[in-house]
Amino acid sequence: MKGRWELIVGAVGGLGLLAGSALGLWWAPQERFMLETGRILYVHVPTAWLSMILFTAAFVGSIGWLVKRRWGFDFLSEASVEAGVVLGCLLSVQGSIWAHWTWNTWWAWDPRLTSVAVMVLSFLGILALRSFVDDPEKRATWSATATIVAWVNVPFVYLCVKWMRSLHQGQSSVANIDPDMGKVLLLNTVAVTLVAIYFVVTRWRIANAVHQREFAE
């Protein structure tokens, strides 16, 4: 466990998330329109923020591998894609629960949620690709290529869904954010970022260990 600084970072983040969630559930004021479900903000927004970071980290890792051909970049990409899929699924579940309360339907074609769902599908495809390629270098190069194309595609997904649904949606209203809400949100966002660092660094080390094993054989 020597030199595993990410354990401390993760522990701090985890505690912060626990505290922030408790505050969000009990202390923070109720939101005017969304009543109790407004509390989903404190876990949904940080998770969304985290997903964006992870997808972008995968993109950066992919570019890094293609340009520099250093294995650390491939491990970053692999770690970020996996964590991104997990958190993207969570995001969709949270959004679905909220949609069920608000509109009595299990899915809302909100452009952001839909973009996340499409990204999760794209990244699942990339995880499948990784498992179907045996040669490590080809695996790194091809998944890097697929990740870059998937990431570049995100603005189009968002734009198309937004335009398509804007013909059917009502007017958007802006929720008022109480300053107390803002504080809890900030706490959870910072906490979740620390947890993300723990996830990626740990998964990076696992990928590194697997790689060493593959090359030793």
């Binding site: 949270q94 909220w98 608000t102 949606q169 009502g170 958007s172």
Partner: protein, 53 residues
């Protein structure tokens, strides 16, 4: 894109159809969140042991 605008984006103007104040839905949402974060942590710890990280 600020944190506030991210959070504000989830309030949409369609007529709401809720019948309660949403507490049970919130419990489920937080439980799902805890399960996923904890579950993935456990997965990483187990995998880490397997690979002797």
């Amino acid at each position: 894109m600020t944190l506030l605008s991210l959070s504000a984006a989830f309030a949409q103007g369609m007529p709401a159809m809720h019948t309660d104040d949403g507490t049970s839905h919130m419990v489920w949402a937080y439980v799902a969140t805890a399960v996923v974060y904890l579950g993935y942590t456990v997965f990483l710890v187990v995998r880490g042991h397997q690979e002797k990280v």
